[in-house]
Assembly symmetry: C2
Homo-oligomer: 123 residues x 2
DNA sequence: CGGTATCCAAAAGGATACTG
DNA sequence: CAGTATCCTTTTGGATACCG
């Protein structure tokens, strides 16, 4: 296990920024939003999120589980079945993230317009 | 200008995720929060955020400016003076980000506790 | 002061192969 | 199915030097 992993390391950053970065991380955001509606199995999450590698999804889920935002329920059956859901803490975080995501959807068109204007102004 | 820059490239990602990632990016979050209170000069921002390199701050500000969230006001004086502030779009985004940051501060202790429990459970 | 350009180190992230 | 382990590429980010 010599893999670079944001679970460990980063002892040099204040805990505040650390939590903020887990929650706002590329895949963290999408996992929280996906799990807000209902619990998902591992492969369901992959499909729901799209274009995420197994490695990154695993890493993200482990980080969020460690932070107490995600609950992992591994059923001892064959083939294995693992369900991920949000804890109370996770639901609170997801609500915040969802606000951000909703804003993004609402305002995306304006952002795109701003970008076009910016690019044209210096071409 | 062959530097890897998230302003350009990334044509392969949907615009929704792209905007979301700018707003939730490591330095984007902190810039939006810092600018929510009042406008800042470049070096003020560096001090306010702490531990951010010139390069990353510049890059972040350019991205947010291009997205129409940040307004850049460069006064033609010597020595140069540049003030950064939020646009209306930026204030909206900052309000969302602030919700997330406030939640993080409120719940940080619980997250830390969850982590300790998680780590002890498998040591 | 407020940047840009360049180089380099570190981290994130993907592909593949393998396992219980 | 739900991961791990390994290798490799890409991206991020810091340090430094320089410029208008």
């Amino acid at each position: 296990m010599a893999v670079s992993n944001w679970n460990q390391g980063a002892e040099d950053m204040c805990p505040y920024r650390l939590v903020l970065e887990h929650v706002t991380s590329r895949w963290g955001v999408l996992v929280l939003i996906a799990l807000e509606g209902r619990s998902h199995r591992f492969s369901e999450l992959r499909r729901a999120i799209g274009r995420v590698s197994e490695k990154m999804l695993t890493q993200t889920l482990q980080t969020l589980e460690r932070d107490g935002l995600v609950h992992r329920d591994a059923k001892p059956v064959i083939p294995p079945r693992v369900d991920y859901s949000l804890t109370e803490l996770g639901r609170e975080a997801a609500a915040q993230v969802r606000g951000l995501a909703a804003w993004t959807e609402r305002r995306m068109a304006d952002v795109q317009k701003a970008r076009t204007a910016y690019d044209e102004a210096r071409s």
